[in-house]
C-alpha cells in the first residue's frame, strides 16, 4: 500500500515545472526501550539541569549560548533563530545533472518517493529522460522550515528524491590512514577466486531482522519469569599477516 503524501511541490529546471507529491520511503521498526530508575522502575525523563547547582531549569528559563572561550558566551535568543529560518517555498530547484553512481553513498541520507501531483506529461517525460540519460538531478528545496540539498533520480516508474548530507558533515574516505602494503600475485589470485566463489545477488528480503525477533523472545521469557542464560561475546582470532595466503587457500578448499 502506498503511503500518504507528506508534502507537495514542483521540480523546476530551466523552463520545466513538474508538480510532485513527496511520500516517505522508509519506516524504521525497532523494539523501543525506556530508561528506568533501577530501584523502583520509575520511567525517567530528560531534564536540563544547572551544571553547578544540580537543580532542574524549566524551558522558559533556558537560553542558547555560543561558547567563545571558556565560560564566555554569546547569547542568541529564539527570535533571532526564528528569523534565520528559511522561507517556505514549493520549488525543488534542479541546479545540475550528474551521472548516476557519481554520488558517494556517504552523502545520501534519506529517500522520498515522488508521485505526480496533477496529471501532466511532465512527470513521465522527466522519469524517462533521467532513465534514458542515466542522470540524477542535484537540487535544493525548503520543506517545513528546513533547507535541503538532494538528488532527484528515477527508478522503475517512480521518481525519487534522496536528501544529501552537507560536505562539512561528511568525513572524506581519504582521512582513513592506510599504510602501503605489498601483496603477492598468489595472495591476490586466491583472494579474487574466493570472493568470486562467495558471490551472489543482493536479496534483501532474505535478511530478516533476527535480532529483533530474539529480543522479543527474550522479553517474553523474562515476562513469564524464565531464567536467562548469558552467553559471552565471542571474539574471532585475527588472521596473522604471514598466514594470509594459507588461510585464503584453506577458505577456497572449504567453499569449492
Amino acid at each position: 500500500m502506498a503511503v500518504r503524501a507528506i508534502w507537495k511541490g514542483y521540480v523546476h529546471f530551466e523552463s520545466f515545472d513538474v508538480p510532485v507529491k513527496l511520500h516517505t520511503a522508509v519506516r524504521e521498526q525497532r523494539v523501543q526501550f525506556h530508561l528506568l530508575h533501577s530501584r523502583d522502575h520509575v520511567r525517567l525523563r530528560q531534564q536540563m539541569v544547572c551544571a553547578y547547582e544540580k537543580v532542574p531549569v524549566p524551558a522558559d528559563e533556558q537560553v542558547h549560548g555560543f561558547e567563545l572561550e571558556e565560560g564566555k558566551f554569546i547569547i542568541v535568543d529564539d527570535e533571532e533563530l526564528d528569523r534565520i529560518e528559511p522561507e517556505d517555498s514549493r520549488m525543488i530547484e534542479v541546479h545540475e545533472f550528474v551521472r548516476t553512481g557519481q554520488i558517494d553513498p556517504v552523502y545520501l541520507e534519506r529517500f522520498y518517493y515522488l508521485g505526480p501531483d496533477v496529471v501532466s506529461p511532465g512527470y513521465d517525460a522527466l522519469l524517462e529522460a533521467l532513465l534514458e540519460e542515466g542522470m540524477e538531478g542535484i537540487c535544493t528545496w525548503t520543506m517545513r522550515k528546513r533547507s535541503y540539498a538532494g538528488a532527484l533520480s528515477a527508478r522503475g516508474r517512480v521518481l525519487r528524491l534522496g536528501t544529501l548530507r552537507y560536505s562539512d558533515e561528511v568525513v572524506p574516505a581519504g582521512s582513513v590512514d592506510l599504510p602501503a602494503i605489498e601483496l603477492s600475485d598468489r595472495e591476490l589470485k586466491a583472494g579474487i577466486d574466493l570472493v568470486n566463489q562467495l558471490s551472489g545477488r543482493f536479496q534483501p528480503e532474505n535478511f530478516e531482522n533476527e535480532h529483533q525477533r530474539k529480543l522479543q523472545e527474550l522479553i517474553d521469557k523474562k515476562a513469564s519469569g524464565e531464567k536467562i542464560s548469558i552467553l559471552r561475546p565471542k571474539r574471532r582470532k585475527a588472521t596473522a599477516p604471514d598466514k594470509l595466503l594459507e588461510t585464503l587457500e584453506a577458505s577456497l578448499k572449504k567453499v569449492v
Binding site: 520511503a25 530501584r39 564566555k72 574466493l194
Partner: protein, 261 residues
C-alpha cells in the same frame, strides 16, 4: 582529522578475520550551542531525571526497560542484549559478495569507515584490492549497540566504507505512487533530455552549503563585534566543555564556509 574509534572487532569473510575499528563517516555539521540558565548564564547539562523523587539519577542507577503494560516494564541488561547474538557483537561477518551497484540506495542508512587495527593492515589491503578488482561489495550482519544491522561493505578511495542498511520490511512500497503512463510524452521528454545534457556537471558536494549554519555563524560574528560576551559564574567543580580558543572559532567557521563556496 582525528578519526574516533567507536567499536573494535573483526571483519571476516570465510576463514579470514581482519582486526578493525569502526569510525564515523558523518559528523554533526551544526553550530553547537550550550544551553544556559537565563538568570545568571550558568551552563546547563542534560540529565536523566526521576519525576517522582524530583532527583537527578546517576548513570549507574539507570536500566533499560521494555514496556509490557501501563507502568510495567521488563528490564533488559547489556549482557542479555549482547548474548542474543554473541558471535556477531564482535565480528562483522561478510556472508555474500555482490555487485557493487546491486543495492538500491533507498536501503542506505548510516555510513562509517573501517580502519585496520595493528597487524590487520595486510589482510585489509587484500580485501580492498580484491573488491576493487572484482567490483564487488560485501553484505554482512553485525550487532552494534542495541540493534543488529545488515550492512554493506564497499570500497571508497582505497578504504572500506560500511553502510548500515534498512531491512526490507522497513522500505515502503512505491506501488501506486506513479500513475499509469499518460500517453505520448516523447516531445516533452526530448526537450528535457536536451536540457539535461546542457546542465550536465560533475558532482561537487561542497557547492551546496548549509545555509542555516552560514547564517548562524554570521549572526554570531555580528553579535560578537557589537557586544561583549556574557560570563558564566565561576565554575564550581564542573568545567563546561567546549572550544577553548577565542573568536578564532568563529573566524575559522566563517573561513571554512567561504572556502567551500
Amino acid at each position: 582529522m582525528a578519526l574516533q574509534s567507536i567499536w573494535t572487532g573483526t571483519i571476516s569473510f570465510s576463514l579470514v578475520a581482519i582486526p578493525v575499528q569502526l569510525v564515523k563517516a558523518v559528523l554533526p555539521g551544526r553550530v553547537s550551542f550550550r544551553m544556559l540558565h537565563a538568570k545568571d548564564y550558568s551552563p546547563l547539562s542534560r540529565e536523566m531525571f526521576c519525576p517522582d523523587e524530583e532527583k537527578i539519577v546517576p548513570p549507574d542507577e539507570i536500566v533499560r526497560g521494555f514496556e509490557i503494560g501501563p507502568e510495567k516494564y521488563i528490564v533488559v541488561t547489556d549482557e542479555e542484549l549482547e548474548s542474543l547474538s554473541p558471535e556477531r557483537s564482535r565480528s562483522i561477518e561478510i556472508v555474500d559478495f555482490i555487485d557493487s551497484d546491486d543495492v538500491d540506495p533507498v536501503y542506505y542508512d548510516r555510513p562509517y569507515y573501517l580502519v585496520p587495527s595493528k597487524s590487520g593492515e595486510k589482510a585489509y589491503g587484500l580485501l580492498v584490492e580484491v573488491m576493487r578488482r572484482t567490483n564487488k561489495a560485501g553484505i554482512a550482519k553485525f550487532v552494534f549497540g542495541e540493534r543488529e544491522y545488515l550492512v554493506l561493505v564497499r570500497v571508497t578511495s582505497g578504504a572500506l566504507c560500511l553502510v548500515t542498511l534498512h531491512y526490507s520490511d522497513e522500505i515502503l512500497s512505491d506501488t501506486g505512487i506513479a500513475h499509469e503512463r499518460e500517453g505520448a510524452v516523447s516531445e516533452e521528454k526530448d526537450r528535457m533530455v536536451k536540457t539535461i545534457r546542457d546542465m550536465e556537471a560533475a558532482f561537487k558536494p561542497e557547492k551546496y552549503t548549509n545555509e542555516r549554519k552560514r547564517k548562524i555563524v554570521s549572526l554570531l560574528g555580528k553579535k560578537a563585534k557589537k557586544q561583549a560576551p556574557v560570563e558564566a559564574p565561576a565554575a564550581g567543580e564542573e568545567t563546561p566543555g567546549g572550544p577553548g580558543d577565542l573568536v578564532a572559532v568563529l573566524q575559522e567557521s566563517v573561513r571554512k564556509l567561504k572556502a567551500t563556496r
